[in-house]
Every structure is written in C-alpha cells, then in structure tokens.
C-alpha cells in the first residue's frame, strides 16, 4: 500500500486545474474548438477550466496575415478550450505576420474556406472512385 500513500505521490498528478494558477494575470493565447484565437489576460479559472479573460482581443489569422478585434471580458466555458499558452511580451513585438484590415482578413478567410472546401470535394470524389467510403466529419475547427 506504500506506493499509493498520498504523501508520497508526486503532487504533479493532482494539479490539472492548479497549473493555471501560474497563468493568472498573464497575457494568454486561448484557442477554442471552433478555431478562434483569443488573446487576453487570465483573471480566474475553476476546476472545469472555465476562464475569465480581460481586455481580450480576437485575432483572426489567415496564412501570414492577421487582424485584431477588441472584445472585452470573456467567460469561456472550459470544454470549448483546446489550449492555452502564455504570450511573452518581448515576442509580441516581432510577430512574423502582417497586420491587415478587418475587411481584408474576412475576404482572405472566405477565400481560404472556399479553397479548402473545393479541395475536400475533389479529394473525396477521387477517393470514392478508388473505393473508399467517406465518413469523416470535421468536428472541431482547430
């Protein structure tokens, strides 16, 4: 029974929610299951990884371009979060992407979506010709 003694187990095993403590009051990138990227300051969290973000910006990224939308305070339901990453202030100065206007990014994004759909259609029809059955469905957009 000694190896299940809680005092001897490394505390890493119990810290799923506790690890976000290090991220509080830090600027984070949060990626949601629908593919959205939110950048904001984490103010609090709970055992479900529900998050409170302040001064949040939604950043739309298409290829090497990006555009930001100011959004304010978010309460994000934990199950929709894919990942969370700390943003280092120094690295924020040298982003390898070009900032463009919202209209431009929306147009670029729509283009990207149309191209992707076209590619899927041709790919699926070729696969069906060979005899594959297409039963995949894109569940999450990230």
């Amino acid at each position: 029974m000694e190896n299940t003694d809680p005092a001897l187990l490394p505390s890493i095993i119990f810290t799923t929610a506790a690890q976000l403590v290090d991220c509080v009051d830090k600027k984070l990138l949060v990626v949601l299951r629908d593919g959205r990227k939110l950048i904001g300051i984490l103010r609090s969290f709970d055992q479900y990884a529900n998050l409170v973000l302040q001064d949040t910006v939604e950043r739309i990224i298409v290829q090497s371009m990006y555009s930001d939308i100011q959004r304010g305070v978010y309460i994000v339901r934990g199950e929709n979060v894919v990942l969370v990453g700390e943003i280092e202030p120094e690295k924020e100065e040298s982003i390898p992407l070009k900032e463009v206007s919202l209209d431009e990014i929306y147009a670029a994004r729509q283009d990207e979506i149309d191209h992707r759909r076209q590619r899927e259609l041709t790919k699926n029809s070729k696969l069906m010709d060979i005899g594959f059955s297409i039963d995949t469905q894109q569940d999450d957009m990230y």
């Binding site: 609090s44 529900n50 994000v76």
Partner: protein, 139 residues
C-alpha cells in the same frame, strides 16, 4: 474570484452569449446557476451566419450549450469591489473568534455530503462506530 461567481454578479447586466452552434443571444441576465444554465430577458437571437435576427422577451439557455459569454468591462470591476467588501466583512466577523479555535470548522464534516442522509436505513443508527456523517456507510 471564480468564473461562475463573476457570472452571478453580472445578473441584471447585458451580455452576449455565444452557443456552441454559433448562434448568439444578446440580452440581460436574469438568473444563472452552478451548471451555467441562464435565463435572459429582452433577447436578440442571431443565427450563426449573422443573417437572421429574432427578438425574444425571455429565454432559457441550458449551460452545456454555451461556448462563451461576453460581459461588459464594468461587471468585472463591480465583482472585484464586492469581493473586497465581502473579505473585509469576513475579517471583521472572524476577529472575535480568534481566541477559540476552529469554531468555523464544525460544519466541515457536512460539506462533502457523501452519504449524509442517503439510503435511510442503518446510517447513523445503532452500531457504535458509525458517525453521524455516516461516511463509512453506504458505498
């Protein structure tokens, strides 16, 4: 301050709820609970494409359908002030008890509430070793 606590303090304030389907609901939060179920009033519902709008005087959202909520910036400040006020009040009411120890912990045994009153039966009755909480009882 926990996310659900922030949600509770934003009762009465306008907010935007985005559902997993991509639909958005804009309205005033009437009430909410621990599962994030919400009741909103004076709601404008927008479909995922942003092409259709509906007005609903009242609406109920089951928490599991929510992707995220956006609240006004002021709500966060108001919640913080309340938090501070509560802490100060707790500090004031805790001070006279400092001499006697652990008086606030007597209710701790009931917090988990595992088997407190479940299964009627033999929990807590007869049998010298079973404590009132009946924790050992019914697994």
């Amino acid at each position: 301050m926990l996310p659900l606590t922030l949600l509770n303090t934003s009762q009465g304030h306008p907010m935007l709820v985005e559902l997993k389907s991509g639909e958005t609901l804009n309205g005033h939060l009437v009430n909410c609970d621990a599962w994030m179920n919400l009741t909103l009033k004076e709601v404008v519902q927008t479909n995922a494409d942003g092409t259709r709008f509906f007005r609903l005087p009242e609406c109920y959202v089951r928490g599991n359908n929510i992707k995220y909520l956006r609240v006004p910036d002021e709500v966060l400040d108001i919640a913080r002030e309340k938090n501070q006020q509560q802490r100060e009040e707790q500090r004031k009411s805790n001070q006279p008890q400092r001499g006697g120890y652990n008086r606030q912990y007597t209710s701790g045994g009931q917090r988990g509430g595992y088997n407190r009153n479940r299964g009627g039966g033999n929990v807590g009755r007869g049998g010298g070793h079973i404590q009132r909480g009946g924790r050992g009882g019914q697994y």
